[in-house]
Symmetry: C2
């Protein structure tokens, strides 16, 4: 079965058991938002105990506080009333394994998927590639405690973020499923 | 109990039953990515039938193909091998209920949460606000079929996206839990 058909089949089952979820309100019932990584191994609803209707979940490569994540967070509190936020990066993140230069070189070489070997990512595709990758900041992560601290700091110091919103910094451990605090980040992120 | 403690408590339970999820690989096992909205009522793992390790999930306000979503999608295929993508917006999205001008005016008036009345969002907070909101494109959604089509079109025509990746366009119905195809988008999004 194709991925598309698998998804549609799974969705039919979900819709059949949908029940009273039709009555959920737009504003998150538990009034918080999580910013985390797109990584396939992470299921924020499961690792943080969310039901439908509870919280906003924002995800991108790395769980970074990009301009777009800030756009989403500002909409989250200003229009939909969230009152606290969580930045959750994770161990063994793909964003640790490359640099801006490597990524733009790989894309300049070809648009096909690179191979990950002992020496790192290597392009094995057929060209043409594109130089457009040189104009993107890939927001790679040298180490998670630093990236969580940087992102909580960026959010807290943004002109559109009220000082009253606490931002908590955590790392999700993909080998145990546990959330581990980054105390320096939570300290920077406390409500004032 | 505070939200933070509730999350940590739920996480303890998840970690206790973590089992063999520690062995999941970084590349998504089912080789696809979903771009969808941060809305609290949406649980993509549930509505599309995903287990941990299956697929990348990218979420922002609206599920829009922002530059940051494109950054994430390019990392998803180039380094981690996804081969097909889904853009899934939804009915009754908060992004339908305001405009760029309204949002920047609300933020200029105060940073507190606005009130939603019969006449739309209204600022009831105490100033000061900030003019920084005028420099952000909020990527609002006038109607979902158009926004899905726009976003699939933007992704398919991006210089870093290989023509071989099909992009499917769907709307999630928050009143039934069902995925509804946007045929024009899927047509634009087919692999070439």
């Amino acid at each position: 079965m194709s991925v598309l058909n698998e998804i549609l089949e799974a969705n039919k089952g979900y819709a059949k058991e949908f029940g009273d979820k039709a009555n959920l309100a737009i504003p998150p019932a538990r009034r918080f938002a999580i910013l985390t990584c797109m990584d396939a191994r992470l299921d924020p609803a499961k690792y943080a105990g969310l039901s439908e209707g509870d919280a906003h979940v924002i995800r991108n490569a790395g769980g970074r506080a990009s301009d777009d994540a800030i756009r989403s967070l500002v909409i989250s509190y200003k229009l939909l009333g969230t009152k606290e936020w969580f930045v959750i990066h994770h161990t063994n993140c793909g964003m640790e394994f490359f640099s801006n230069d490597l990524m733009s070189n790989l894309l300049a070489s070809s648009l096909e998927t690179a191979e990950l070997g002992a020496a790192g990512f290597k392009d094995v595709g057929q060209g043409p590639g594109s130089n457009e990758g040189k104009y993107i900041n890939w927001l790679t992560i040298p180490d998670q405690a630093s990236s969580v601290l940087e992102d909580v700091t960026r959010i807290k110091s943004h002109a559109l973020v009220p000082a009253s919103i606490p931002v908590y910094g955590y790392i999700y451990d993909v080998s145990t499923g546990s959330l581990i605090e980054v105390p320096e980040a939570t300290k920077v992120g406390q409500a004032r």
